[in-house]
């Protein structure tokens, strides 16, 4: 993150210099558009695989929700294998959800239930196979005469040593969640950090949820994470955003992921946070999918822990 700050500082100072700079909209030819399949698939310990298929859109095409909906791909053949067994995923659409799954689906798509059930959003789900630690899962997607493949692993999870909460600065009832982590000696361990408050259905991602052990391989150390839910709460006091309050119960989902998958998420977040940065090297988010598709096929190996802020 410091490197991002460094880049941003340089940009800020350049822009500060250009006190008289002027920005205007221009129409310019951007060649190179390719219609590509986007695979957004995941599998985690104890859970079925979920795969979304959509299409990329020209940057000058309409960028709205309808375009997003129109991009969903139905009728594909999606198959996963754990090396010994194979499962063909079932396509489930939001306007035809099994009873009791509406809220889960709504959270998955990031949409209100009443909006979702009136839309035709489809996902492919492996009802015949769930993720297991230590296995490699291959994915095959066949659509429009093209085939795409990918593989991911579910590793042994890395346990957290402990969780604790402490007030931040002058606050007595607001603070970050702290964690003590002993990273395994093997380098290249990569992680995803998600949290939710007790009572919530879905986990949320923090500002910078993916990291690896490049800076702390084999070390035991403490670090803090913010409360991401507070930023989505329109009623939250802006002064307290990012903090957990005394008495909160926080459920942490600390997942181990593979290196290639980490590479995808690292570059993805880098692209998101450097959006519009003219000095950044234009970087496509690298995929682990073969065959010319965009996106990711990722296996999560989560470790769950609960923190009561006190």
């Amino acid at each position: 993150m410091e490197f991002r700050i460094l880049t941003k500082l340089i940009i800020s100072s350049l822009l500060l210099l250009a006190v008289t700079s002027c920005t205007k909209e221009v129409q310019i030819d951007i060649p190179g558009y390719k219609d590509q399949l986007v695979i957004d698939g995941s599998i985690e310990t104890g859970q079925p695989a979920i795969v979304l298929l959509s299409k990329s859109n020209n940057v000058y095409s309409a960028t709205n929700f309808q375009a997003y909906l129109d991009g969903f791909v139905s009728g594909a053949t999606v198959i996963i294998s754990n090396g010994t067994e194979t499962d063909t995923l079932t396509e489930i659409c939001s306007d035809n959800l099994p009873p009791g799954t509406e809220e889960i689906a709504a959270a998955f798509f990031g949409l209100p239930v009443d909006v979702l059930i009136n839309l035709h959003l489809c996902a492919y789900i492996s009802f015949g196979m769930i993720g297991e630690v230590g296995k490699t899962y291959t994915l095959r997607v066949i659509t429009n005469g093209s085939e795409y493949t990918a593989a991911t692993n579910i590793y042994n999870p890395t346990p957290l040593d402990s969780l604790y909460w402490k007030p931040e600065g002058s606050y007595t009832d607001r603070g970050f969640s702290w964690v003590k982590l002993s990273d395994p000696s093997q380098s290249g361990d990569s992680y995803a950090w998600q949290v939710k408050l007790a009572g919530m259905t879905n986990f949320s991602r923090t500002f910078n949820p993916f990291f690896n052990d490049k800076f702390f391989n084999g070390q035991t150390f403490d670090f803090a994470y913010e409360n991401p839910m507070s930023f989505d709460d329109p009623n939250a006091d802006p002064a307290y955003r990012g903090y957990y309050k005394l008495g909160d119960t926080v459920i942490v989902k600390f997942s181990k992921i593979g290196r290639k998958e980490y590479n995808f998420f690292e570059k993805k977040y880098n692209q998101m946070y450097s959006g519009g940065n003219p000095f950044a090297t234009p970087t496509n988010v690298p995929t682990n999918i073969n065959g010319g598709a965009l996106g990711i096929w990722v296996g999560y190996s989560p470790w769950f822990d609960t923190l009561v802020c006190q």
Binding site: F3, I10, S56, F65, G188, Q219, F279, P286
Partner: protein, 799 residues
């Protein structure tokens, strides 16, 4: 082998022939301040032979014994004729008369005929007098901006550091300040150069046909020579501008024996910012400034020995403070350069220059956010020595040979990070050590009245040595990360190669000539940039076992012609250049990726080519002087790991580049200048498509550099008002009124940058606005322009 033998035989013959002749040699200096004068032609009309003074003012001309009329001729100093009895060899040093303030007084211009007669191709020397009259951005006279007005040279962007020559990258330019290497020639992210115009004597750019005495870079050599200091009297020069002021003090240590010069410059942007930001603001303490300091001493130890000690130190400092957010950052960067030179005359035909140099460039970034502290440093440090011999056996041959050695210490990245008491493992500070050496020989000789050849051969070698840790990355599944440790002095990798250099001139009737040149170059140090533009964060990196030396060749052919008694000179040059082992970061590489890893593990390698045609038309004589330069060029790159292995245009690929520069001297007090440039827009890579992953909008970029910005064009104007140069005085002997040159002089320089307020593109980006779910989300391409019309004024003085 046959060529080498005949070459040695030829040299031997001339050594023998030289025994029956006499030699006229000496130093040529400025009569007013004692500065050594380069490129003064010493010419004997009756024999039609001549020699040129070198950069230390030394000349040597060997002829048959006799009495001769000898002309000493220079563009800026006019001509002096001496009768010299050369019945035996003579040392004849001469001070050329008062400097012609403006070139309109010069009738005979030897340097202009050089345009046609010399073997030099793609070489241009700019005089500081000329540069100082050009329109200046915010009043800061800038050497780098001046050379960007020449054909074949282009700027990175309005505010980018560095320059591009004939399709080469910014690191492919060897920038020398008194023979010390300048690794970052930019202040303020490239808005200004590190060269203080008051301290600079001359600027020489070699963009093609690089002679064998230069090497280590693929594209060009920019030689910047500092003033030596006034040998005659104490002199103060200075200027007060819109954003900076400068002061120079020079004078004799001992009259006509030694002199010194010290020059300093500092911006006051920080003071202006301080006034703009209140003490209670959370950003109080944020500032930016740069300063630089030049110093030089020279002393004539004897008639045959002279020493020079030159130094430069400059730094940019950027501080950022956000007390509310608990964040502070400090970012200094800068160069330090020192050069000690010894000139020695072994004989009247053999001149030696021995130079020891020290160059240092460092970039640091430190920050603190509450209890988290972070520091990053990168840099390069060289110590080296160089020896050059110039041998003048007769007027037909000018032979040079020499050797060069540097010991490089690179710090690509050194990072420390600490959170409260927890120290993060950022790996050991990575340093890379290497030896770089070269030896060369060249001979410029006339085969007949039409054909002149400059033949040279350079041998260069590079050794990457320990201590060094090589990281070998596993995939984390079947293979794990391992390291190889090299101890101090261990040879890790050795590279070497021959670099032939040839150029020729064939004189044609009508004051014209055809020239051709070929140069092969190796480059062992590389600048790697994670950004789409050049920034101080760019990393200098050596050749290693993984990163191979860049190498390539350039061939050029040109037609040169002068018109109207050499008042106008013109040239057309065509060039083709091929480059191998070029370096880029892998797609998606991030600055921290080389922590606990080697930088070259995140590099990719490719090749490039560039070709183009350059037209140059110049008028150096008369009240109106100036030039027109036009370049048509194409620059391409191909990296197997970038752009799916397809050829793509370099980011500075410009099809058309036009510059018009004119200076008009109205009278002794007013001089007006104008410059206009037009350039095809830079290329860049913009997203060609968007997609959604986990509810996040992501972009997919199209082909590398496939989008081109709108053309860049700009007109700048300037006017300089000089104080009266002479005052009237009564001559006590004659009682008549006479004019006496004033000791105190000043001028006002007024500039208008971007006269017609063109909003040139600085960069483009894809912006998004609206709400995805509401259906009003929109992606648009936005263009950011930096500078509108900017008037400025600078007051300069000297006494």
């Amino acid at each position: 082998m046959k060529i080498i033998l005949s070459f040695l035989l030829t040299i031997t013959c001339f050594f023998a022939a030289a025994q029956t002749k006499v030699t006229l040699s000496g130093y040529i200096t400025d009569a007013i301040d004692g500065e050594a004068l380069k490129d003064v032609k010493v010419f004997i009309p009756s024999l039609k032979v001549g020699a040129m003074s070198n950069s230390y003012g030394f000349y040597s001309l060997t002829v048959a014994p006799g009495k001769y009329t000898v002309e000493f001729r220079s563009m800026a100093y006019g001509s002096e004729v001496k009768e010299i009895d050369l019945s035996k060899s003579q040392v004849f040093s001469i001070e050329l008369g008062s400097k012609v303030n403006n070139v309109n007084e010069v009738v005979v211009n030897v340097k202009k005929t050089e345009n046609v007669t010399s073997t030099k191709m793609g070489q241009i020397e700019l005089q500081m007098d000329q540069i100082k009259t050009l329109p200046a951005f915010m009043g800061e006279v800038d050497v780098i901006k001046a050379i960007q007005l020449l054909p074949g040279v282009s700027s990175v962007s309005e505010g980018g550091q560095g320059f591009y020559v004939r399709g080469g990258g910014p690191d492919q330019n060897l920038v020398l300040l008194d023979e010390g290497v300048v690794y970052n020639a930019a202040h303020l992210f490239g808005f200004f150069s590190v060269f203080n115009a008051d301290a600079v004597k001359s600027v020489n750019l070699i963009k093609g046909g690089m002679p064998a005495n230069f090497g280590g870079r693929m594209s060009s050599v920019l030689e910047v020579n500092m003033n030596e200091g006034n040998m005659k009297r104490l002199k103060v020069t200075g200027g007060i501008g819109a954003i900076s002021s400068r002061l120079t003090l020079e004078g004799p240590i001992k009259k006509d024996k030694g002199s010194f010069i010290v020059s300093a410059r500092r911006t006051y942007i920080d003071i202006l910012l301080k006034a703009a930001i209140s003490d209670t603001s959370p950003f109080a303490g944020s500032s930016y400034f740069f300063y630089d300091f030049n110093a030089k001493l020279n002393y004539k130890l004897s008639a045959k020995d002279r020493i020079f000690l030159s130094g430069y130190y400059g730094k940019d400092v950027f501080n950022f403070s956000d007390t509310k957010g608990g964040f502070g950052a400090n970012m200094p960067w800068g160069n330090g350069i020192a050069a000690l030179r010894w000139n020695h005359l072994f004989s009247d035909k053999l001149f030696m220059n021995l130079t020891t140099t020290f160059s240092d460039y460092m970039f640091k970034f430190g920050s603190q956010q509450d209890e988290f502290r972070f520091e990053l440093a990168s840099g390069i440090r060289d110590v080296g020595a160089k020896v050059d011999f110039s041998y003048f056996p007769n007027p037909i041959h000018r032979i040079k040979w020499g050797a060069d050695y540097k010991y490089h210490t690179f710090t690509p990245t050194s990072v420390t990070a600490q959170n409260d008491t927890t120290v993060f493992d950022t790996g050991a500070a990575q340093k890379l050590y290497s030896h770089e050496a070269a030896a060369y020989i060249l001979d410029e000789f006339d085969l007949n009245d039409q054909l002149r050849l400059n033949v040279g051969l350079r041998y260069s070698a590079f050794a990457h040595v320990g201590p060094f840790t090589r990281y070998i990355k596993g995939d984390g599944i079947s293979t794990q990360d391992t390291t190889i440790q090299y101890q101090k002095g261990d040879l890790i990798k050795f590279y070497h190669g021959l670099e032939p250099r040839v150029s020729m001139r064939w004189l044609l009737p009508d004051n014209s000539s055809i020239k051709a040149g070929y140069a092969y170059n190796y480059q062992y140090v590389h600048l790697t940039s994670l950004s789409a533009v050049s920034l101080p964060t760019d990393i200098w990196f050596p050749t290693t076992d993984i990163a191979k030396p860049e190498k390539g060749w350039q061939g050029s052919v040109g037609y040169f012609r002068n018109f109207f008694n050499d008042k106008f000179e013109s040239s057309i040059e065509v060039y083709y250049k091929e480059m191998k082992n070029l370096i880029e970061f892998k797609e998606g590489a991030l600055p921290g990726d080389n922590v606990n890893d080697n930088t070259d593990n995140i590099l990719v390698f490719g090749e490039g080519r560039a070709y183009g045609i350059e037209f140059f038309f110049k008028k150096s004589v008369g009240r109106f002087t100036g030039w027109v330069g036009y370049t048509w060029a194409k620059t391409e790159r191909r990296f197997p790991d970038i752009n799916e292995g397809n050829i793509y245009p370099a980011k500075y690929d410009r099809r058309h580049d036009l510059s018009l520069v004119g200076t008009y001297k109205l009278n002794d007090r007013w001089t007006f200048s104008a410059s206009f440039i037009y350039a095809t827009g830079n290329t860049l890579t913009l997203p060609s498509s968007w997609y959604v992953q986990e509810q996040n909008l992501l972009f997919n970029y199209g082909a590398r550099n496939s989008t081109r910005m709108a053309p860049y064009h700009r007109l700048d104007l300037s006017a300089t008002l000089y104080s009266k140069a002479y005052k009237t005085k009564i001559d006590p002997t004659t009682g008549k009124e006479i004019e006496v040159k004033k000791r105190y002089r000043s001028n006002w320089s007024f500039s208008i940058y971007n006269v017609y307020n063109r909003m040139n593109p600085f960069f483009l980006y894809v912006d998004n606005d609206g709400d995805f779910l509401q259906g009003n989300f929109k992606l648009t391409v936005k263009q950011v322009s930096l500078f509108p019309i900017i008037p400025s004024a600078t007051w300069n003085f000297e006494f």
